[in-house]
Symmetry: C2
Subunit: 136 residues, 2 copies
């Protein structure tokens, strides 16, 4: 998907290719910092089929605010949830989960975290094509 | 503006008429709670011409994430800023300001605050028609 198409997924800035976290993603994503005071807010845009690895936030949770396209959110042992613009997901700390786009459409969500001393993310195994393709 | 039209301003739920804070608003607004864990997030929808009074957040700031229509944000002594979907505004504590819709179009923003002990809002005078009409 070219940059022009990706920019149309949401009204928020697309930012740069998410190179720093690419090792924890399947497919290409983009990251744009929107605010770093009191709450860290990034716009995360996923190409169709792109998703992050299973991961766990330790020490603080994360909030997703969906702003464009369609995506998926899944907690370990639960059914995946289909996401659309206007949905909000609270992810408690210590819960293993992943999120990303559906296969045939891009997806953008804002990611919110409250800066918390000692908080960190534990990155786990990728969501395999076999797991992912079953969901769609 | 009827409920059906107001619901089209953003992808987020419109919620109920904002009766609790109506005394601090000129015109009608709507409020919908989206998240109350770690960060309090509401969708606030303003009818055309609706704006809140000048006010000051004490003890913690506020973040506005614009999600539909066009609005205005002004800090005391500064020019008003025109807002559109995709804009993000950080409002530091202790800064006198107001926000609301433009005259001829509704506006919706998410309001984010980190729950902070002892934080409160000081409501001041309304933005008069004379002040407001000069901006447009």
């Amino acid at each position: 998907m070219d940059r022009n198409e990706l920019e149309k997924i949401s009204d928020f800035p697309l930012g740069e290719e998410n190179v720093a976290f690419a090792q924890y993603f399947t497919g290409k994503s983009y990251l744009s910092l929107l605010n770093d005071k009191e709450v860290n807010i990034h716009n995360v845009t996923f190409e169709p089929g792109c998703r992050n690895n299973w991961h766990i936030h330790h020490g603080c949770g994360q909030i997703l605010i969906c702003v464009g396209g369609h995506g998926l959110y899944q907690e370990a042992g639960k059914d995946a949830r289909l996401l659309k613009s206007g949905d909000v997901v609270y992810i408690p700390s210590e819960i293993k989960h992943w999120h990303g786009a559906v296969k045939d459409e891009g997806f953008a969500h804002l990611s919110l975290t409250v800066p918390t001393e000692g908080a960190n993310t534990e990155w786990c195994e990728p969501v395999t094509d076999e797991e992912y393709n079953k969901l769609l």
